[in-house]
């Protein structure tokens, strides 16, 4: 008959399908971008910092804005699977659930990364930022931090679609668990921007967080997917 499909092949196919669907409908990207822009503007009314101060707070503001925008995207990417109950089709197939989890997480990672690429210049302009520490380190922090947000975000979004009050449930259960990662990404960014201290510990912590929760997410995804 047919051979069992490989994890990576299914992940790739599903990711390609999701990117194509997003390109055609632009559900997640549009709402995310607009929301993030709103947050940036509103924050700028609340804070009017000098250059030195702005380096200290920009890290926190940026990551909070990205966190909120990510939640918007997370709900969208799973809602798409509930339309026409098309998620059932995946569940019925022999495709491994882990592939779906990886594909959704990667997709969300790409969307949030696009958001960051668009938002960071905005931040630099609005707050007249100039980094004291090496900029490439910011890139490393961004990659690890984004993965930390989307790996747990994707899992909890899948979990919350099985509940009735899903829009409020997702941030409620995601935020507390993400606190150490948020702390790490904000403090790492701030320490790089101000050049005050080394971000190495935070980078290591984010790496550990990413590793641990990716594994846990992969292990626990199947019962959550099939919980009905």
């Amino acid at each position: 008959m047919t051979s069992a499909p490989s994890l990576w092949a299914i992940t790739r196919r599903t990711l390609a399908k999701d990117l194509r669907l997003e390109w055609r409908s632009k559900d997640a990207i549009n709402s995310m971008l607009f929301f993030a822009l709103l947050v940036v503007v509103i924050f700028s009314f609340g804070f009017d910092p000098t250059a030195e101060e702005s380096r200290k707070i920009a890290g926190g503001l940026l990551w909070v804005a990205i966190l909120f925008a990510t939640v918007v995207a997370l709900n969208q990417t799973w809602t798409r699977e509930l339309r026409n109950q098309v998620l059932d089709a995946y569940r019925l197939s022999p495709a491994p659930p882990q592939a779906l989890f990886l594909a959704k997480t990667l997709g969300n990672f790409i969307f949030v990364a696009i958001l960051e690429v668009l938002m960071v210049p905005l931040f630099v302009v609005f707050y007249n930022l100039r980094s004291v520490g090496p900029v490439w380190q910011l890139g490393v922090v961004a990659v690890l931090a984004t993965w930390a947000l989307v790996v747990n975000g994707t899992f909890f979004a899948a979990l919350s679609i099985r509940t009735r009050s899903r829009e409020i449930m997702l941030p409620l259960i995601l935020f507390p668990i993400s606190i150490p990662a948020l702390l790490a990404m904000v403090d790492a960014t701030t320490s790089i921007l101000t050049g005050d201290s080394s971000p190495i510990f935070w980078i290591r912590l984010l790496a550990v967080y990413d590793f641990v929760f990716t594994i846990v997410g992969l292990l626990l995804f199947e019962p959550v997917l099939n919980a009905e």
């Binding site: 008959m1 047919t2 051979s3 069992a4 499909p5 092949a9 299914i10 196919r13 599903t14 399908k17 194509r20 669907l21 055609r24 409908s25 798409r80 339309r83 026409n84 109950q85 098309v86 059932d88 089709a89 995946y90 569940r91 019925l92 197939s93 022999p94 495709a95 099939n226 009905e228």
Partner: protein
């Protein structure tokens, strides 16, 4: 299946169903709304866990292990509205390990549609959507098929076409379960009819008896409800199969 029970909170949708089904037949599940037909189908297909009881499908307690051998067509289309028919089929067949464009095209042609159609599925008529949904369910060549209300909101021509297709598949050895309210449509091709009421299996007969053919039997069926000696395969000599349309079989009562 043995003693299958399924609760949703305080509502018991399935209340102890025990039955065996032989392969190669077309079974029609009938019953009023809320009788548990969709729930039963979803339990057999592995989408719902029974609260109690066990189900064996294709020789296995774990239906995931035999996922490549069965297909499911849901009440909802189970398709992505923003993609074309071919795109949908190519994705879903890839989930089964099939990377063959020709097979997808073949499946679409089998249900009577044109594979070259680039339009997004969301813009199809209901009849076309149901047919693509069927194509998705059969593209991997399953030997067991579950269909939940395949004819809802479908025009008569499409419905008849699907029925003919199902009969042809049954003749080639596929086992088919159909949940539907349109008993009259299935009457010419059904092998057995199974009636559910309030979560219990209350009748099981050859073909579809005439009393079940009226679409809204609510007023009539009450006095005809058979007694509780049902739930096992009807005894039948193999020779009884010579009348496959199964008409005019009165209910035992």
């Amino acid at each position: 299946m043995r003693d299958v029970v399924r609760h949703f909170g305080r509502f018991a949708a399935l209340r102890g169903i025990t039955a065996d089904f032989a392969p190669g037949r077309l079974y029609v599940l009938l019953g009023e709304n809320g009788a548990g037909k969709t729930t039963l189908l979803r339990v057999i297909a592995g989408l719902l866990e029974p609260s109690r009881g066990a189900v064996r499908v294709l020789g296995s307690e774990n239906i995931r292990a035999v996922a490549t051998r069965f297909g499911y067509m849901g009440h909802a289309p189970l398709l992505y509205d923003e993609m074309s028919a071919m795109e949908n089929l190519e994705y879903f067949s890839a989930l089964y390990g099939i990377n063959d464009r020709a097979r997808c095209q073949e499946a679409i042609r089998t249900v009577g549609l044109d594979p070259a159609l680039e339009r997004r599925v969301g813009q199809y008529s209901q009849g076309m959507r149901q047919r693509i949904s069927l194509a998705r369910a059969i593209v991997h060549g399953p030997e067991l098929l579950f269909l939940d209300e395949p004819f809802s909101n479908v025009d008569l021509r499409s419905a008849k076409q699907m029925t003919t297709l199902l009969a042809a598949m049954r003749d080639q050895g596929t086992t088919i379960f159909v949940v539907t309210h349109q008993a009259a449509l299935m009457e010419p091709v059904a092998d057995e009819s199974i009636v559910l009421d309030a979560g219990r299996l209350i009748a099981r007969e050859w073909g579809i008896p005439s009393r079940l053919l009226t679409p809204y039997p609510a007023a009539e069926a009450a006095p005809h409800r058979p007694s509780a000696d049902v739930g096992v395969s009807p005894q039948h000599p193999e020779s009884a199969r010579q009348d496959p349309s199964g008409t005019n079989r009165e209910a035992q009562s």
